[in-house]
């Protein structure tokens, strides 16, 4: 049987995720149809075999055996295709999230909009209910809470929008730049994501709680956290740099205008 193997095109790089899913669904439907036909044929043959025992029983038995083998193969192929379909849909979803997150992070040079995007990624793609974006102060002794969602007075480590240390998971991540997933003893943090600019750890995104309908961080979330680690800080710093330069430019232009009037 060649049905599922027709998927030679599946590996083709020009086939998009959506097309791949469509192809797999089509192949799956065809394979299921084939299984139904084979089952029908098999039932017919078995009836014939029972009804007319004198008609070449050996040949009929062999034919039945062949069809049963083909049926087993088809069923195996259907299961494999179903599994590949689920994997493909999963991959397509991951790639969509990563594409949209990257696109949106770098779509603006306004620091506030970059921060909004980081918050939107945390809420809408990760499902984070409580989180904080920590950025190291220039003296590097503490971190400014540049962005937070859902923090309360009970979150004393972030009081006054400053984090001075105290959570072992966050401190370790700020120290060595390794993404850590929790919670663990002494830390309620679900994820501490290092933020890097030119291999320098400039802060961390701290996920403290997820929405009820998303009980755990899944494997695909790890990709998103990695992306945030690599892109969030650089997008934010590029935007802040641009804003600072823009302010300086405006000041200089004002000075020039003033000087010309005088």
């Amino acid at each position: 049987m060649s049905g599922p193997r027709e998927g030679g095109r599946l590996g083709s790089p020009e086939v998009t995720g959506t097309e791949l899913v469509t192809q797999l669904r089509g192949t799956l439907d065809r394979a299921a149809e084939l299984v139904r036909v084979l089952e029908g044929n098999l039932a017919t043959l078995q009836q014939l075999g029972h009804g007319e025992p004198s008609e070449a029983p050996a040949a009929s038995a062999k034919r039945v055996e062949e069809l049963e083998e083909r049926l087993r193969t088809a069923e195996t192929d259907v299961k494999e295709l179903a599994s590949r379909l689920v994997d493909s849909e999963h991959q397509a979803g991951r790639l969509m999230n990563l594409y949209v997150a990257t696109y949106q992070l770098h779509s603006t040079l306004h620091p506030e909009e970059v921060q909004e995007t980081i918050a939107e990624i945390a809420i809408n793609l990760l499902g984070a209910e409580r989180f904080a974006l920590l950025l190291r102060d220039e003296d590097e002794e503490a971190c400014e809470v540049a962005l937070e969602e859902g923090l309360t007075d009970e979150d004393t480590l972030y009081a006054g929008r400053v984090y001075r240390g105290g959570d072992p998971l966050i401190d370790a991540t700020l120290d060595d730049g390794v993404l850590r997933l929790g919670p663990e003893d002494g830390s309620p943090v679900l994820a501490a994501v290092p933020l890097r600019v030119h291999d320098v750890i400039v802060g961390a995104l701290v996920v403290l709680d997820l929405f009820d309908h998303k009980p755990i961080l899944r494997s695909e979330d790890r990709d998103l956290l990695d992306l945030l680690s690599a892109h969030a800080a650089s997008a934010l710093f590029a935007a802040r740099l641009y804003a600072a330069k823009d302010r300086k430019l405006r000041s200089l232009e004002s000075l020039v205008k003033l000087a010309r009037r005088e």
């Binding site: 949209v100 909004e116 995007t117 809408n124 793609l125 929405f211 309908h213």
Partner: protein, 130 residues
């Protein structure tokens, strides 16, 4: 249900981009809050489905449903799917009571979203019917 034109209402630019990627098969109309959405519905009388966020500035999802009169089943309005973030059951319930026909919670995958859309019956409230 197989809609042709979908109005997506969300205050998140990220979500609008996500809808663009997930719902390529449909023509999308975008609105950032309930007020914009009501205007877009006036401008696009061929919208046949609305994806509606709950929490938005100026006019949220529940206020939009009330403002448009979704509780009046005789009104010619496209069906609404509520897109909720918080997982607050009471908001979702209030939305359904206010005239929405289905809901989905963020974060969701394109498979989940298209499943919710396609599982909606064709005879659900529509402009043509009303």
């Amino acid at each position: 249900m197989d809609p042709k034109k979908v109005l997506v209402v969300d205050d998140s630019k990220l979500m609008h981009k996500m809808y663009e990627v997930m719902l390529r098969q449909y023509v999308l109309v975008h609105a950032m809050d309930g007020l914009e959405a009501s205007q877009e519905l006036e401008d696009h009388d061929d919208v046949d489905l609305v994806l509606l966020d709950i929490n938005m500035p100026r006019m949220g999802g529940l206020e939009f449903l009330e403002h448009m009169g979704y509780q009046d089943e005789s009104k010619a309005l496209p069906p609404v799917i509520i897109v909720s973030t918080e997982g607050k059951e009471e908001d979702t319930q209030r939305g359904l009571e206010a005239g929405a026909v289905a809901y989905i919670k963020k974060p969701f995958s394109s498979v989940q979203l298209t499943a919710v859309i396609s599982e909606m019956p064709d005879d659900v409230r529509s402009r043509e019917q009303a």
